[in-house]
């Protein structure tokens, strides 16, 4: 999952729209940050201007 985020303020990305791709996954791995990311809350907190590369577990 690749996220290109141009917001200059922190942004909460709701995940329900991506259900067909996420297929109920609750865990991901932030490849460039080198850390696990939980998808359980149904949203991702994006840092301003941050691009994110997630491997969906």
């Amino acid at each position: 999952m690749v996220i290109v985020n141009k917001n200059e303020q922190p942004y909460s990305l709701k995940l329900d729209r991506f259900a067909e791709a996420l297929q109920g996954a609750t865990q991901a791995y932030d490849v460039l940050g080198g850390k696990p990311v939980s998808l359980q809350s149904g949203a991702l907190a994006l840092q301003p201007g941050q691009g994110l590369l997630l491997e969906i577990k």
Binding site: M1, Y11, L13, V31
Partner: protein, 560 residues
């Protein structure tokens, strides 16, 4: 005084010898050697020398026969069509006869092909290319900075001058390139460019069979490729079939009036590449575009002349077979005769069915770029065999969309999304080469106003979307250019490539904090991509950008 007299005497003697031996002589045979067992058994030799056309070539060797001999209005050229159907590797003599007597002889060699040469695999979506301008990457051998017989000398203080980078400089830093995670190198042209000025970019070939000695020798080039292969790096050669340099050896003694377009006299191209596929185009516009020259120092070759066409096709195959290439980047793809480009790609792929070639069709309109891809059904009936194209539409859009204000319909990431929708036009979008910049345009970091967030988002997009990414050397260390569009500055020296450089991007010494961090960030991303099967051959699923966020997925059975 004494030596001067001796010199004068030798000069006279030399002239005398030439006279008594008769005029006909051999100065060049091209290609100088070939291979036994090529799929196409035909080989056409260009023989050049004073009055050579007065002689008749004779071959007496099993498996080799002279099919025909072609003479032109210039008596200094002779073209020999050989049939090598049954030839084995080895040498044979071509006798050149006059009145039934052999007066000249040339020993021709047919080499044994490397095993599986025809099955070589070209670059593909598992690769990320590192584009290098050889004069500007690293000077590994200062002893070849100035070479006898080469007009232009080293001048590192001039942006448009030669800076001394060479093949050894690249070979010395293959570990750095492989360590960064790149798996292929596209080198800007390395062939001889013996031009009086601005020769460093390499796009004015003066000898199609010879590496420029200021970069090294043909053997050095072959060694570089072998060494690169040992580190799992593929090498992509930059070729130009549209034009040569005005100092090319044949420009002083053209084979025929139609060898160079516009009768060998400068007339500028219109650069209107649309006319090639314009259903309503005039013949006048087509001629001005296809036959016109780029600049006066780049004579436009006439590929409708079948001898020229064969010369160029054989030259390409010679370099693939000789040096072990993994791909070709073809310059100015729509500028030469379109029918010839089709013949050229077809001939190369018939010898090497799994090879890859990427064409430069510098146009932001995907409909135009897609016209040239293999498999495209064109309404005018034009059939292309070119597997890959440079994705200029994505390059142009990415650099525009990132710095733009986000709006729902007209600007920002929605443009990037929309350009990807145009993939329906391509027979094989996965084989496009995606890139943020190259040697001909502002560096990406400059293009996005040195905004590190935009730079990283752009690179992340390119390294994860469909296609084969290409990164210009130094981007990993945030190289910039000024002023905008300045070619000499875009192609600046890689920091650390020259002795005494205060900043060294190979070691990290002296790099800014941002540059050092970006280099490590890109290394991590490239290394991850090397095994990311979903990015190599997986499907792409994208979502319409909303609120300034563009989300897409790459997925296969193993990864998403």
């Amino acid at each position: 005084m004494k030596s001067r007299t001796l010199f004068a005497a030798m000069f006279l003697l030399a002239g005398y010898i030439q006279q008594v031996q008769g005029q006909a002589d051999i100065r060049r045979v091209e290609p100088a050697f070939w291979w036994a067992g090529m799929k196409n058994p035909n080989l056409q030799l260009l023989v050049y020398g004073p009055q050579i056309s007065e002689l008749t070539p004779v071959v007496s060797h099993p498996g080799v026969s002279v099919k025909q001999t072609i003479r032109l209005e210039n008596p200094n050229y002779l073209f020999i069509d050989l049939d090598l159907s049954g030839a084995k590797p080895g040498a044979f003599d071509i006798g050149f006869q006059q009145k039934g007597k052999t007066v000249r002889s040339y020993t021709y060699r047919l080499l044994e092909r490397e095993k599986s040469s025809s099955l070589r695999k070209g670059f593909d979506p598992t690769d990320v290319m590192y584009l290098i301008t050889p004069d500007r990457f690293a000077n590994g051998d200062p002893s070849n900075d100035n070479m006898e017989g080469m007009h232009e000398r080293l001048n590192r203080t001039f942006k448009g001058g030669r800076h001394g980078g060479d093949i050894k400089g690249i070979a010395d830093h293959l570990d750095y390139i492989a360590g960064m995670g790149f798996t292929a190198i596209w080198l800007n042209p390395l062939l001889e460019n013996n031009m009086k000025e601005y020769s460093y970019h390499g796009y004015s070939t003066t000898d199609f069979y010879k590496v420029d000695p200021r970069y090294g020798s043909n053997e050095d080039y072959v060694d570089l490729i072998r060494k690169a292969h040992s580190k799992n790096i593929r090498i992509i050669m930059d070729m130009i079939l549209n034009h040569c340099g005005s100092e090319h050896w044949w420009m002083k003694d053209l084979p025929s009036k139609d060898w160079i377009n516009y009768d060998g006299k400068f007339a500028p191209t219109s650069h209107r590449m649309e006319v090639v596929l314009d259903p309503y185009a005039s013949a006048a516009d087509k001629k001005m575009y296809t036959d016109g020259w780029f600049v006066e120092t780049m004579p436009d070759m006439n590929q409708r002349n079948p001898l020229m066409a064969t010369y160029l096709i054989q030259n390409t195959i010679w370099w693939i077979e000789y040096s072990g290439l993994d791909g070709i980047r073809m310059d100015t793809y729509p500028y030469p005769d379109a029918g010839f480009m089709s013949d050229w790609t077809k001939a190369v792929l018939e010898e090497y069915p799994h090879f890859n070639m990427v064409g430069e069709v510098w146009n932001a309109n995907p409909a135009i770029v897609s016209y040239w891809q293999r498999g495209k059904i064109n309404s005018d009936g034009y059939v292309s065999y070119l597997p890959s194209l440079m994705d200029f539409p994505v390059q142009e859009t990415l650099g525009k969309a990132l710095p733009q204000k986000e709006t729902r319909y007209d600007s920002g990431l929605i443009l990037l999304y929309r350009i990807m929708v145009n993939d329906f036009l391509y027979p094989d979008a996965a084989n496009l080469v995606v890139f943020p910049d190259n040697h001909d345009m502002d560096r990406f970091y400059t293009r996005v106003g040195e905004n590190l967030n935009w730079f990283k988002q752009g690179v992340l997009f390119l390294l994860t979307t469909r296609g084969i990414p290409q990164i210009y050397y130094g981007s990993e260390a945030l190289m910039t250019n000024a002023p905008s569009g300045d070619h000499g500055s875009i192609r600046s020296d890689f920091p650390g490539g020259w002795q005494g450089d205060k900043v060294n991007a190979f070691t990290g010494q002296g790099l800014s904090k941002e540059a050092a961090e970006t280099q490590q960030w890109m290394k991590k991303l490239l290394t991850w991509r090397k095994t990311a099967s979903a990015v190599h051959y997986g499907k792409l699923l994208q979502f319409v950008p909303e609120d300034g966020v563009y989300v897409f997925f790459r997925y296969d059975e193993k990864q998403r």
